[in-house]
């Protein structure tokens, strides 16, 4: 399954993300965010990633699943914009509709290794939807670039 696709938005970037489970949807969203921003390898499993770098445990709250989704991506974006960490693997430990705990594998941003593709200024609520379908989960959102 392709974890994300882009849809047209005049000024910004629209993203549609799919996951078989809610946890997978959130992990795919983390992948989408970093994949749109920089040239990097996002590892879908821990084995392929190897043990280098740091692990961060993040706990995020939200008013509902949509708010939680945005707040999670906000935290990830801050790790890059504020702390200069690149997240290259993400595992969801717990994920309800209002709270999640995730383990993030990060490495420091390196200009030579991670060439920039697009600067994402923010994760917006505009046109946001996070929905469960028979076969899985789908989210649509717009990144401000």
């Amino acid at each position: 399954m392709l974890s994300y696709t882009l849809f047209d938005h005049t000024a910004d970037i629209g993203v549609e993300i799919l996951g078989r489970t809610k946890k997978e949807l959130f992990a795919h969203a983390a992948h989408a965010l970093f994949d749109i921003m920089i040239q990097t390898t996002f590892h879908k499993n821990r084995k392929s990633r190897g043990g280098k770098g740091r692990q961060l445990i993040k706990m995020v709250d939200g008013a509902d699943v949509e708010d939680l989704f945005i707040n999670f991506l906000r935290e990830l974006l801050y790790l890059f914009n504020g702390k200069r960490w690149v997240v290259d693997h993400c595992e969801m430990i717990e994920c309800s509709n209002t709270r999640l705990i995730a383990t993030l594998w990060v490495e420091p941003y390196n200009k030579k290794k991670h060439s920039m593709k697009t600067e994402i200024k923010a994760v917006t609520y505009s046109g946001l939807s996070v929905k469960k379908f028979k076969s899985g989960w789908m989210a649509r959102l717009i990144f401000d670039v």
């Binding site: 938005h9 000024a11 008013a63 600067e119 994760v123 609520y125 046109g127 670039v145």
Partner: protein
């Protein structure tokens, strides 16, 4: 995509009728051509959404550079009553006080012919551009708070430019009411490294030549003459501003239900102007605005140094002078006559420029007889326009005009369209030298991605809210 039907009021204005829970109707400034483009995105719906917000006065407005944003449309203008009205971080946008600054020089095109490439390379080397670029000025925590409180004044006090520059900066380059205590540690951290940087995306520094003069009197007052070399800078408050917006948006979304305000789109999250949360946002937003003015003031100073060094000329010979600095993403408390009564309103301009007329107290003394300069950058090939604010803007648009050409093509579409082409070579063929950090930026920002600047400016001119003064042609451009 938009199914909303607009009613034509005249050649330059369309009415969006008040329906459902809209508190006021909308008015979109557009000619027939721009109106047709509105059918392809959600921007009309966004004008209608803004009309749902409490305390909105007269109309939810959009300028002819309107395009699909998030929450408010880009090109949106909305004023809210101080009594019962709201303030919305999304109505200002992430890049608080994104704006433009225009400087004239005493040089003509012939003075720099043959030296343009060296000059552009020198500018590109000296002025930090691109994502995550760090600035020329490193701030201590104490200094950063001063920047947030004082804006361009801090920059001038620290040797970047002169006091005279403050006279021709909107609000003197310092918005009052700034309180650094309302700015998060995250925002402060992001701001520490980025003062004196241009950024990426649509931000730029351009060398331009005055190509046409439409209004001799206003051009004379602004110090513009045909064939003159000028410089335009377009940038804002960088990561600090984005973080302030994001922090307050998250906070307002979290507490939205307590306000009792029903929203058609979460991105419009807001709070009453009279509420503590609303006041705190305005105090933090003012910090972002002041940071942006300090940023543009420092960039102007660096530009001046590069010109002097690269061309081996003295400051007097270069004669670089600030014409004006305007912001186009802001919420400000301003006074307007509503039904004959003077009222203080909180005017949100999201991708819209203030356009005050002759005689207004906020217009600098040297422009008082003609009105405030309105700076309208176009795409890389089109150059820019300089307009002057008109009385009609006070009556119709809360003293506002457009801010640029406005996108018409998505970034992904633009990149696809530009594939296999050399945008820099195409621009070079038009006499525009471009230096950018990445090919992607050039593709995203290709001229076809924008509306025709002439159409946008003509609507504003014909509607009488701002009048054309001069047209500038791009010669060289640096981007992130």
């Amino acid at each position: 995509m938009s199914e909303i039907k607009l009613e034509k009021l005249d050649d330059n204005r369309w009415l969006l009728p008040q329906t459902g829970s809209m508190r006021v109707p909308g008015i979109i400034y557009a000619n027939d051509k721009i109106h047709d483009l509105l059918q392809h995105d959600e921007s009309t719906k966004q004008v209608a959404n803004v009309a749902h917000l409490p305390g909105i006065v007269n109309f939810s407005l959009a300028m002819p550079d309107i395009h699909w944003g998030y929450g408010f449309p880009i090109g949106g203008v909305a004023a809210f009553d101080m009594d019962g009205g709201i303030v919305s971080p999304g109505g200002v946008g992430y890049d608080i006080n994104c704006g433009c600054r225009l400087m004239t020089t005493g040089l003509a095109l012939d003075d720099i012919r043959g030296k343009i490439k060296d000059l552009t390379v020198a500018l590109y080397q000296r002025i930090p551009t691109g994502v995550g670029s760090t600035g020329y000025v490193k701030l201590s925590g104490k200094d950063q708070k001063k920047v947030l409180e004082e804006g361009a004044k801090w920059a001038v006090r620290n040797g970047f430019g002169s006091l005279q520059d403050l006279e021709t900066t909107e609000d003197g380059g310092c918005l009052s009411g700034a309180d650094p205590e309302q700015v998060s540690a995250r925002a402060l951290e992001r701001g520490k490294q980025q003062l004196g940087t241009l950024g990426s995306g649509n931000h730029f520094l351009e060398i331009e030549v005055v190509q046409d003069i439409f209004d001799e009197k206003a051009a004379g007052a602004f110090g513009l003459s045909k064939g003159q070399i000028v410089v335009m800078i377009h940038t804002g408050s960088r990561g600090l501003g984005y973080q302030i917006c994001d922090d307050y948006l998250a906070l307002m979304v979290k507490h939205q239900s307590e306000t009792g305000i029903a929203l058609p789109d979460r991105q419009l999250a807001c709070n009453y102007l009279a509420s503590q949360r609303g006041k705190n946002y305005l105090a933090a937003m003012a910090c972002g605005a002041n940071y942006a003015w300090a940023n543009r003031q420092i960039l102007m100073h660096l530009t001046q140094e590069v010109f002097e060094k690269s061309l081996s000329i003295a400051p007097r010979e270069l004669g670089m002078r600030l014409v004006y600095d305007v912001c186009h993403n802001i919420a400000k408390i301003e006074s307007f006559k509503i039904n004959g009564v003077e009222k203080k309103l909180c005017v949100h301009r999201k991708g819209a420029t203030r356009a005050y007329p002759a005689g207004h107290e906020a217009v600098p003394a040297r422009y008082k007889s003609v009105g405030q300069p309105v700076l309208i950058p176009g795409d890389m090939g089109a150059g820019s326009y300089i307009l002057v604010g008109q009385e009609k803007a006070m009556q119709e648009t809360f003293g506002s005009a457009c801010h640029g050409a406005g996108r018409v093509m998505s970034r992904t579409q633009a990149i696809k369209t530009s594939r296999g082409r050399s945008i820099s070579r195409e621009l070079a063929d038009q006499g525009v030298l471009v230096m950018a950090g990445s090919k992607g930026t050039l593709g995203e920002e290709m001229p076809e991605a924008y509306k025709n600047l002439n159409d946008v400016v003509q609507v504003v001119h014909d509607a009488g809210i701002a009048k054309k003064v001069a047209r500038l042609k791009s010669i060289a451009c640096i981007k992130g």
